[in-house]
Symmetry: C2
């Protein structure tokens, strides 16, 4: 039976990517060797790393603009720490829109003063705060573009005179933007970019070197930049599968085409959530994420029936996060429109049934 | 043509592991989903992580002895930092046997006083220093069990009253020892344990919680222990392939059987290095590594001929590291005796030819 994978991450990747990724485990580039057993210093892998770094910048329109792309380890959780290690001299400004920004704030506090410019915690992070001011003396401003757990997404980013840092883990490569507004973008690969195990970091080089502390080598962006993202053994396979996914994005029309398809998927699902009296959306309408739709039953008594229906239909990962309950449909780049239609049909079927 | 992969790491893994690892990319556990697209919180993956953690302890004889096993990200290079973050209050003692211990020392110096108890730098790290004393007031003693680049290996570890910390990246699971002598063992997976992208850390829990500094969440062993190595998204696939490799070690007789085969491989290669007038070993005989044999030509003029011979024979990764030159044969667990015999035959063929 065909599976419809709505998992929040690690999540669905293109089937073509899985095929090529599986083959490379047996024989990479017709070398007679598995990609898992080759040296990361081999010409074959150095070329994977370089192509992935270039393609990431290319897809975001950031080539030749002073940015460097790195594929590091440790996930966004390590970036919470590295951002502060490298940029926080005295004071930093953070927008708190959910679990991940709260964690980023917690780690930054070990390195200096953190000003939370606004938070939506008062309504369980169901909206994006919009009117706030950023202290003039902040070293940088940090925000989270998409909140996987609560299903909200920043549609317009503030204009700031200070470095703009953004955790784009759950929506990078999913929509067009002027990415050159940002000075540091980071994203765990395991949503739109690849499997778990590597983290993309894109940095405008000129923002580095402004803090007075000594930075441990592995925490220092400058170390990784100076070694072309090969200071130590990278997460070889995760970088390779990310490259395959980036190539797929490019071959399928780039970020603009991804956005069009993602908007269409989000539209049909949110339309059904709003139309169907058995369901209600969780996030404020104007802040709804095109990546993660969070919704609940209006009456919990239908839960058992609905859960059985979607599980029987081959739908995977539709359970909501415990912080929100209900359902969460994660509709990353590789999820087909057909899969969303399957869920919409099930919602309509439930309505007829009860 | 059959390949003989002597790569220093990432390196050869068992062919059976590659087959199963390739299949799981297409369909994991008959779930209809790729292992790359499932949630790390799914029952299927939680069971992978738990089995890998238990099996690592089991193979080292460390079950039920107060140790915890973790699969983290960032490689041994991140452990250089984490060890000091978690254990270094005032002073630490390090044995310097090569590139990796030098790097560990460099990172530790950011956190406190580091006493280098001995070094073999005077002879380009070609031996293991043996008579040294460890300061009574050191918070811990750190050493590197096997030096991949120089081809030396510690055969006897000192008895210390302080926590004994060891970087076993390149020889863990390759030989029997009383591992309960150690309080913290770490190892990048990409030699005997799995592919690049995950790092095994084994900790005696009682050594933690003794430093006064605040430790960032991702740097804190206690964080990872409290979350059963799932504080953040782990490097899912690298952990899975490590589990497959650990299962292979167990099914093939465990660490004792690995050691027997490794010793046999090392013996026939070192015998040839010592017998053949065209070659000379690099490392001091009593400190020779069973994992990485480093050797040079006695006359460089044969280099071109010999290099062509082994490349034509399907041998891969025999080039020495630039710090030593010549050749390095890395003979990790998964390398067959046959592959070593191929190289020995080539060395004898060269002798007849010139």
């Amino acid at each position: 039976m065909k599976k419809h994978n709505f998992s929040a991450g690690p999540c669905i990747l293109p089937q073509e990517v899985f095929k090529e990724a599986s083959q490379a485990i047996l024989d990479f580039n017709n070398s007679g060797l598995s990609i898992l057993e080759i040296s990361h210093r081999s010409a074959d892998f150095v070329s994977v790393m370089e192509e992935a770094r270039m393609l990431a910048l290319d897809l975001l329109g950031l080539k030749d603009k002073g940015y460097k792309a790195l594929f590091l380890q440790g996930g966004a959780s390590t970036q919470f720490l590295m951002v502060a290690y490298n940029l926080l001299e005295k004071k930093a400004a953070y927008l708190n829109t959910g679990t991940w920004s709260s964690k980023a704030i917690k780690e930054a506090k070990l390195f200096g003063e953190v000003v939370e410019v606004a938070t939506s915690k008062d309504k369980n992070f169901s909206y994006i705060p919009k009117s706030y001011s950023i202290p003039q003396d902040a070293d940088y401003f940090h925000c989270t573009s998409n909140n996987t757990i609560f299903g909200t997404q920043i549609k317009e980013f503030p204009s700031v005179s200070k470095p703009l840092v953004c955790d784009m883990s759950s929506d990078i490569f999913s929509r067009e933007m002027d990415f050159s507004k940002f000075d540091l973008i980071y994203a765990g690969a395991q949503k739109n970019m690849g499997p778990a195990g590597t983290t993309l970091v894109i940095i405008q080089e000129e923002i580095l070197g402004k803090v007075s502390r000594e930075i441990p080598s592995m925490m220092d962006y400058a170390t990784h930049i100076s070694k072309d993202s090969m200071f130590n053994t990278p997460s070889v396979y995760a970088v390779y599968v990310s490259l395959l996914t980036l190539r797929w994005i490019k071959a399928n029309g780039g970020v603009r085409a991804m956005e069009e398809r993602n908007n269409k998927k989000a539209e049909i699902l949110y339309n059904e959530i709003d139309r169907n009296p058995l369901f209600k959306g969780f996030a404020a309408k104007e802040d709804r994420s095109a990546m993660n739709a969070t919704f609940n039953l209006t009456n919990e008594k239908h839960k058992e029936v609905f859960d059985k229906m979607w599980k029987d239909a081959g739908v995977n990962g539709l359970n909501g996060h415990r912080s929100v309950g209900g359902y969460r449909a994660s509709m990353y780049n590789a999820l087909s429109l057909e899969s969303v239609e399957v869920v919409v049909d099930l919602m309509q079927e439930l309505e007829k049934k009860v």
